[in-house]
Symmetry: C2
Subunit: 205 residues, 2 copies
DNA sequence: TAGATTGTTAATCGATTAACAATC
DNA sequence: TAGATTGTTAATCGATTAACAATC
């Protein structure tokens, strides 16, 4: 695959395209166009065509894009044409909410285990998982070859847990802790902080 | 205030600066520099100076930035030098986790009420709030002059709820539903979807 | 064929970086 | 004063958009 420009920002939009394609499919559509996608997503049709063209030719002139086909292609590009096992760290309110979330599996991810270091929580049932001690983390990550983790611990615990995850070979961390994590290059962190979103929007209030 | 370029992307970084300043303060620091902030945040020092200079002059040559002072200035710029009341829609697992979250108030936001339309949930105690019926939403929003909402309902319910929120005059929506919301200009939506983050990172796996 | 829409090029627009005078 | 760091300018870099030939 040719990579003559960094696609980081483009890759960031592909999951949105994938989500919208699923939505359109549920509306009964079989075909869509860059214009329809653009309108629904609040982007320009040129941007969508350009983004897609970076990875290949997926449409037909005069017709548009076959939704199923484009979904398959995008899933392949994003490597979500398989299921990635995940470790969830933190069995607090948020951790339990994530453990109950049904939306991961259809999109290429599955929670394999949930960890906490509070003795009161260890052994508790959460969804169809039992909360394991943090001391089990290395073994589970190794045995299940886990490469993705969700971090749902308080901010003050996050740096140490992140360091452990990195050491165990985790290379993608979905971080719910309200703190900027310092990780080596090669490890990716995606940050989800409600306060960052709220403060951002507050500027415009 | 002069606005000769769109600061959207800059405004998006200010909450990160604010969060890092708090972190440095907790380490006992009184002063920081664009270089220190840059290293900790993984940005360039030039970018941080440029971002700040867009809103004013907050530093001293040779010295750097007084942390407390810069925090106060950034809070004022972002309009989080006050507390915004919020309505939370959805009393599922995620809604309850958000209702228990202690991190909103120190950052300028407070949950005023939580709503759901499931009869089983209405009246339940969640944190120190009682779950109210959706039919109460208009009254509460009006009486408390609420302008910010958190949407924590399933994707299929989200568009209708968002439309209601917009109609009631809500102008900032923190959206946890995995769907792109269509709102009029003037209403801002900040999207938090774990799957989007995971799929984005999966590209690099 | 006529109409529609893609994929792609070139132009435009905007964001980041490098460099440095100003100054603490 | 010497050293450090800001605020700002100009240069660079990258992303978006407009336009259109190709083609279904």
């Amino acid at each position: 695959m040719l990579r003559n420009q960094s696609p980081e920002i483009v890759v960031g939009r592909l999951p949105l395209y994938l989500r919208m394609l699923e939505f359109l499919k549920k509306e009964g559509k079989l075909i869509t166009s860059s214009q329809e996608l653009a309108e629904r997503l609040g982007l320009s049709s040129a941007q969508i065509r350009k983004d897609l063209s970076y990875f290949g030719e997926f449409g037909k002139q005069g017709t548009g894009y076959n939704i199923e086909y484009l979904q398959r292609q995008l899933r392949e590009i994003l490597h979500v044409d398989r299921v990635w096992e995940m470790a969830l760290i933190g069995a607090g309110d948020l951790g339990r909410a994530l453990a109950h979330y049904q939306g991961f599996v259809p999109e290429g991810f599955r929670l394999e285990a949930i960890f906490d270091n509070a003795p009161k929580k260890i052994g508790a049932q959460v969804g169809d998982l039992l909360v394991l001690s943090m001391s089990e983390l290395p073994r589970v990550v190794r045995e299940k070859k886990i490469r993705v983790a969700i971090l749902a611990v308080p901010a003050d615990a996050a740096p140490a847990v992140a360091a452990t995850l990195v050491e165990l070979g985790i290379c993608a961390i979905l971080n719910y802790a309200p703190i900027t994590l310092n990780v080596p290059s090669g490890v990716r962190v995606y940050h989800l902080d409600p306060v960052v979103g709220l403060q951002n929007m507050a500027y415009y209030l």
